[in-house]
């Protein structure tokens, strides 16, 4: 039986398979993933504070000639994204409790709701560009900050949807087990993160 010593005192036991390695390195992987989310949080924070600074240093907001954003539609789209956060949480819970049927149902719901949110955002962009004539480069600070921040968030959601599809396919093909599912935990953390970022963006662009 081959036993190898790994960094941080972790031991890979060939007889036991990769589970021992998984147990020993899970905390490190979790810390790494949380650091990634913190770095993403810093990225969003810098853009958000730049937006708030510019917004408060100019004349009225939005600038003259630009209408207020559509709060009713944004509320609906926000609830769709927040709902996907709840379904993702229950997908992970059902995986932990070995209930694959409900896991699949909640996971597919999350992917569909994520795609619906992106469709809603595409609809809003189209509406703003063609009806309101608001664009990234032609509407001053308002257009630039709105499209940069919501676009960056939309990019994260797009990546998240692809990520969740890959996780779902992996779980179907037996990559994860009841005791070994760090990928699903990371996916849930990432999805909650994009939800929480949207709480802030929704509030600063539509409600204040």
């Amino acid at each position: 039986m081959a036993v190898a010593t790994l960094p941080h005192g972790a031991v890979y036991d060939e007889h036991e398979g990769v589970d021992q390695l998984y147990v020993e390195t899970r905390a490190l992987r979790l810390q790494g993933f949380l650091l990634f989310l913190v770095s993403d949080c810093v990225l969003f924070s810098s853009f958000i504070f730049a937006y708030l600074y510019m917004r408060n240093s100019g004349q009225g907001w939005p600038p003259p000639g630009i209408n207020r954003l559509d709060v009713a539609f944004a509320s609906l789209n926000s609830v769709i994204l927040f709902g996907s956060g709840a379904t993702m949480h229950y997908a992970l819970e059902n995986w932990k409790h070995n209930n694959f049927g409900k896991y699949a149902l909640f996971m597919i719901s999350t992917i569909i709701l994520g795609a619906m949110f992106l469709s809603g955002q595409a609809y809003e962009y189209t509406n703003l560009y063609f009806k309101e004539h608001v664009s990234w480069s032609g509407s001053g600070i308002f257009g630039a900050s709105f499209f940069t921040l919501t676009g960056m968030h939309g990019f994260h959601v797009s990546v998240g949807v692809v990520y969740l599809i890959i996780l779902f396919l992996q779980s179907i093909h037996g990559v994860y087990s009841k005791d070994k599912y760090f990928g699903l935990t990371a996916g849930t953390l990432y999805w909650h993160f994009v939800d929480v970022i949207w709480v802030v963006l929704f509030s600063i662009f539509y409600l204040i």
Partner: protein, 72 residues
């Protein structure tokens, strides 16, 4: 009651927001005593998710973000 697109959107947002807020609060309550760093982060995220749902409800009923259509 005048039923236009905005009213329908607001109604769905309010109903959906109530459902999401309740479901998030229940998930938070169920996970409250679970240990581990990932679960601590999940609790924060669920709390913020419930807050987001409440904000969406308030926006739906017009308490928040209730501005005139045209900019001044």
């Amino acid at each position: 009651m005048h039923l236009d697109i905005a009213t329908i959107e607001r109604t769905i947002a309010i109903v959906g927001g109530i459902v999401v807020a309740i479901v998030s609060a229940i998930a938070l309550k169920n996970d409250w005593k679970t240990p581990g760093m990932d679960n601590q982060v999940f609790k924060i995220m669920l709390g913020l998710l419930a807050l987001g749902a409440v904000i969406a409800i308030l926006a739906g009923v017009g308490v928040l973000g209730n501005f005139p259509t045209k900019a001044a």
